[in-house]
Symmetry: C2
Subunit: 207 residues, 2 copies
């Protein structure tokens, strides 16, 4: 009964609740949450019943309780370890990005094929990509980022998935598809985001 769209809604409720908490709210009703993410209160209550959060139509839900229950269901209470493969411009921007830590995302290591980028003693170690499969297995890394040139991407994905990676954020401009069962790839496509901005700007001009 838990499926992909439910999980992604639960993640959105959690982010809304964290924002409400930071604004000083203590309670919330299902219609507030519903409005915030664009679903009906009935959907919110159904989602909460799936994860055994007791219904509370009159008094509303306690925000801290919801945050704790949702964080547990979503596995947010342990650090999420990732690796970055390809430590060029995009890869190093991600390694420097301070916001990941706030979300519980921790970069265990970076990997590169260029010896001038390898730095095992750095705060976040950058290792030779030859060491990647052993590292993934030893530290049981399940999610990684591909930030290598397009020519290297498919082979790097293969190595990652064979070593046990189950979720990949891919920046290289090749549409990677996982032929393994149990492997998710999200292809980042900034061209698409920029093109959509042009279409929506043009639409706004028309109206």
């Amino acid at each position: 009964n838990l499926n992909k769209s439910t999980i992604l809604r639960l993640a959105r409720y959690l982010r809304v609740l964290q924002k409400l908490k930071s604004l000083g709210f203590v309670k919330v009703f299902s219609n507030n949450l519903g409005d915030a993410i664009g679903v009906t209160p009935a959907v919110v209550r159904k989602d909460f019943s799936i994860i055994n959060i007791p219904g509370n139509k009159r008094g509303g839900y306690n925000i801290d309780t919801l945050i704790e229950l949702l964080s547990n269901v979503l596995g947010k209470n342990q650090p999420h370890e990732i690796i970055i493969v390809g430590c060029g411009r995009i890869g190093s921007a991600l390694m420097e990005y301070k916001e990941f830590a706030k979300e519980g995302i921790h970069i265990a290591a970076g990997f590169d094929v260029d010896p001038s980028k390898v730095e095992p003693k750095a705060g976040i170690p950058i290792l030779d990509v030859k060491e990647m499969p052993a590292f993934i297995k030893e530290y049981k890394i399940t999610v990684g980022v591909i930030a290598v040139p397009d020519t290297a991407a498919a082979q790097v994905m293969e190595q990652m998935v064979n070593a046990g990676i189950q979720g990949i954020l891919n920046f290289a401009p090749v549409e990677l598809k996982c032929n393994h069962k149990g492997c998710l790839i999200h292809n980042v496509n900034l061209s698409l985001e920029i093109e959509n901005l042009f279409y929506l700007v043009k639409l706004a001009d028309r109206l």
Copy 2:
């Protein structure tokens, strides 16, 4: 009758059609397009009627004709000029990204506050950010990318929008909202994408 979700569907049809064309297809039916983007054939036909593409249930649509009509409606036949503000790791990765040109996205210039990054004679010129408002007005730039640190983002957005920018792709970890009418901001949030991968990997483990 043209609205945001219709425009984004039209953009998705266009990408599917370009892919089909590259695979050698000549004709397509509304149910093929519907399946490809997850809507019913009736929605496809309604979308096409909004932009005056004549219905053709029996013979299917000619792909080249559809591509041409959709490209016109979406304004894809002129190059889409953008500026990049902040030419550090992320900004320079975008300036080097070869795929933008394939989508008709052309970077007119980059801007930075750091004199060591300014390079007016480069292939894609990098100029002092002081010159940005005049540049935007002179070249009528409507879309830009914010790739500066979080402390600079709000002020940079202000300068861009006052000079005429209508669509912004924002990488800085501050949620920018546009108070001008007619200004769209898309906040890129890679933490969110990575967290969603963890949730979906965890879900896949459960099933």
